[in-house]
Symmetry: D2
Subunit: 137 residues, 4 copies
């Protein structure tokens, strides 16, 4: 369940045909991309932009990802991805995700992703201040 | 250029990180998926839904696709795909596309896709009436 | 580490350009697809074929997936995905994965996927006998 | 038809599940990625490697792509992509493609891609000598 004690970004979109597979449902790897778009949108909604973070010389690499699939989604279905910060450390953070049917509210997929902040040369470094300010909010 | 004598569906979206490649630009195959989402949106904007067409026993298969790449797009850039009907026959139709930067209006990619209407058994058949009504409009 | 007490399928391939992202490394969702191709190959190497399982009326849906990213891979790099059965129940099974650089042997990504056997109508059912025979081997 | 008067690179692979769509066939955008892997393999088979070309400071950008879909392919089907040089200019080249069923030989998809050689700064420049040597061979 999306937490109620902090900012949760909601991003709505339709399932694209290319994201489905031969079972006529959304392919399980597509949700990993939905998670990613959820956190891109999280940053935008909080006044940041990951593109700008990258241009400043940092990367937020993915160190771990996990997803649980509760119910399938289908082509053209309107989904909403909810994204929040699960944990924030000085050089790493964890996002939580929940993907639900926009109309019924039913949760279809839950997941998380762990990230480490590195320079473009690959050195582990502190998260940008504008991101660290989100801790606990 | 998008035509001015008929309905043109506009669909706006942000470039997802997964859609970029090692050149740090949107991968050329991603635009083929943008075209597809453009025509999904075209149908929705005209009160139809390709999902319902499929459920009625028809498929609109892709027989040909083409794209010209004029300028690259990057992660997080806001794009708009414009989609219109280029040509309509009784059993086939052609969609035209134009993908532009949402803010500057600059056209980045143009393209088309040709489609044939078939039954789920693979037999070529007439396009659904609700789609044929779009001819010339 | 890939286990030594059971069958481990190895599948080698080059990283495709489309699988990279703007960090010039393989996008993290691409590995989920590599895992999937690893288990497709596992079935083929053991004389089965998931395509035939599906034609017989069953699906092996994905209920959970997880991946840990240790080191990035790049375009054209030759990788090997190792896949084995981590756990087998009557109606569910877990695959384990390891993706390594083919030349150096260095492990880049590890992961798992959990699956449930269902009929095309969505009813949970027993795994096919030819798959259950792989338990503990 | 693949030409008989010059080098044609053949690359065989199985269709991945993620490459299929809700029609239970390979999604049309997946073939654009197959084309790309076909030309990656073309370079490798001729003793070059596009990764090395990029490291030397050049990109071979895609300026146009086209595909004709004759017959669908399905999950696990073994395909072969044939790739050859259709036309070579000093700063641009065109690849031709043909994708066939590996067992029956039947051609499923044909296509082409046009490319322009640019520096990493975006300036149009001459193709690398090792590539230009392939003209007419």
């Amino acid at each position: 369940m999306a937490p109620q004690d902090r900012f949760v970004a909601e991003t709505a979109f339709h399932v694209r045909y290319a994201e489905t597979d031969a079972m006529a449902i959304v392919h399980h790897a597509s949700y990993i991309v939905y998670f990613e778009e959820g956190r891109s949108s999280y940053a935008r909604q909080r006044g940041s932009d990951y593109a700008r973070i990258e241009q400043s010389g940092l990367y937020l690499t993915v160190s771990e990802v996990g997803a649980r699939y509760l119910k399938p989604a289908r082509y053209s279905q309107q989904l909403v991805v909810r994204c929040w910060i699960e944990e924030m450390k000085s050089r790493a953070l964890t996002f939580g995700y929940e993907i639900a049917d926009q109309l019924t509210g039913e949760v279809l997929v839950t997941g998380f992703s762990k990230h480490i902040c590195i320079t473009h040369a690959g050195q582990v470094t502190k998260l940008p201040d504008e991101w660290r300010a989100w801790a606990g909010t």
